[in-house]
Symmetry: C2
Subunit: 346 residues, 2 copies
């Protein structure tokens, strides 16, 4: 004797051999109906402990893996949430994605990640691919989406959350903060510290531009219209930061303080300054953005604008989950704000 029980003969009609065990197989072996197995898996509280155990034993023995394609089709709930971010190379969105992943996982959902690139040329095509999987919700980065994208998202009639930016008119829900305000706040902060000669190194992506705008505008209000500016292509890298700082230092005017579009750029800028034996923050002070790598006491002499990147992801997941479960939210727009962290280096 090899085994007391064996899998029942299969009644496959198709020629494509799908070797896997189905819910029906489990039901048969456990001596119950398929529906009971389904319940044992999804609403165990509706099933007798005894039946439950029998079912689970069979599942264990057979190595049954539920087919969520079938389940999703039948129930119109894919247990999938899609997130579209420009890139994960510069680190700024990584924690947001991680937080999203974690929170959704807890709730029994999985994240489907899409990378749209800078600029978001592929967002539309990506969206098609994404929507064809029938996600139960979508998380977008930024607030600038093509009319086409907005239309299709609305047509999908699922919760949508935009992140990492602020607008009074989101597609649906929003978790973010104002980049223009960041720029203004940094300018004000540095002005208050007595600086008068400013530099600006940042990438050419949308949100960085908004910060740049706010920064320049606030300085202009203080009568300062002369800002040494170097713009690099997104996404930011250490190397681009070095290069940009090189360009800036090779010019005539040398700023007292440089506001960098991201901490990654700021690190590169620091590298370049150091390799030229320029004292930081003594000769030139640096302000970054994003709050990356600044959690440790051995941090480099950089100040930054700290953003709770995890919170954005967590809250985005939260609002989507709330809406999926039918709750109506008190606020469709959550401003998570930001915080200037001056390590005494500006």
């Amino acid at each position: 004797m090899r085994k007391s029980k064996s899998l029942p003969k299969r009644r496959r009609a198709s020629s494509r051999a799908t070797a896997s065990v189905t819910l029906g197989d489990v039901a048969q072996l456990a001596g119950v109906s398929p529906m009971t197995v389904s319940r044992a898996l999804n609403r165990p509280e509706l099933v007798t402990p005894d039946t439950l155990e029998r079912v689970h034993r069979v599942i264990e023995r057979t190595g049954y893996v539920p087919n969520l394609l079938a389940g999703g089709l039948a129930s119109s709930r894919s247990r999938l949430v899609a997130a579209i971010v420009p890139s994960i190379t510069n680190g700024i969105f990584v924690e947001t994605v991680q937080a999203l992943t974690d929170r959704l996982w807890q709730a029994g959902y999985q994240l489907m990640l899409g990378l749209s690139g800078y600029p978001a040329t592929r967002e539309d095509a990506l969206l098609s691919a994404v929507l064809s999987r029938r996600p139960d919700g979508v998380c977008l980065t930024g607030i600038n989406h093509s009319p086409e994208t907005r239309k299709r998202l609305l047509a999908a009639r699922i919760p949508i959350v935009e992140t990492w930016d602020l607008t009074p008119t989101p597609i649906d829900m929003l978790v973010g903060f104002s980049h223009e305000k960041v720029g203004e706040a940094v300018a004000r902060h540095l002005l208050d510290k007595g600086h008068r000669r400013f530099g600006l190194i940042s990438a050419d992506d949308e949100r960085a531009s908004a910060r740049r705008r706010g920064f320049v505008a606030e300085l202009a209000r203080a009568g300062l219209t002369d800002v040494e500016t170097v713009v690099v292509p997104a996404p930011s890298t250490l190397a681009l930061g070095r290069q940009a700082m090189g360009t800036m230092l090779d010019r005539r005017a040398r700023p007292q303080v440089v506001f960098c579009g991201s901490d990654t750029l700021a690190h590169g800028v620091l590298e370049e300054a150091r390799s030229r034996h320029i004292d930081v923050p003594g000769a030139i002070a640096l302000m970054g953005f994003g709050g990356l790598e600044f959690t440790h006491h051995t941090s480099p002499p950089l100040s930054t604008v700290d953003v709770d990147r995890s919170a954005i992801g967590r809250l985005a997941a939260e609002v989507i989950l709330a809406r999926i479960s039918g709750q109506s939210l008190s606020d469709k727009v959550i401003d998570v704000g930001f915080r200037i962290v001056d390590r005494g280096t500006t």
Copy 2:
């Protein structure tokens, strides 16, 4: 008149309102059978150009989005490939993921990304979640997987590719290189350069340990058994690198050269050295690993072990796609190798 044509009355049986247009709707509006619409979408060469155009016009007009849950269920092909990586925070895997995504996208497949964490405690649970979506292939990081994981992967009867490491006995296919050899090669390289006092700073993940082993073993063969070692918890960060270097420098013996487990650590180590006014590479030379941020001429004074991270992703996609389309591969194991890049700084 509002419109010349309108969507047909729906015959939904279910109470859950699924608002979206179906393939059947498109067929009806185009005056063809559902099957023809399906062909127009998936095998257009089998359909008359005329019919094709009519169908596409209706699709355009209605904003039809195919339902891949249904398609996947019917065809047993989800057009989904899953990848499981430990983390995307340290950057080392990011380009691999990007390359995978890109190559698969070209072929009409989408990547479903799973983050298993260090150590891969969640790999098993993740795998369940992943397999329940019926991916057409799976890409894993590393070669150490629980027997349970191996069993279920094998049972899924889909192409599996392990990456970023080397073994003669992969589960199925493999794209990677030997970390032990990396350690040995680095040791040999540094010995040849005349160094005799070595330091080692690395994370406690599996592959880093293998490099460490190779490094120490090769030094031992040269009669050097005294290696200043600091191990930090994975994943690597700049801050951990700084901290580790601090620890090392506070000890008595000061190495001539430090082999860092990752470029990220190396950067942190460099930061710490500089903040202590230790000349790099004059007083202490540094060797990193991974080839991150080393593509630009303004690179910091670090040498590294370059790995073609994109190639790993691209090749992994390639072998999976090949196997999906039924090709048998000449080699199930691809060694992509590595390259020591000495920028004259060791």
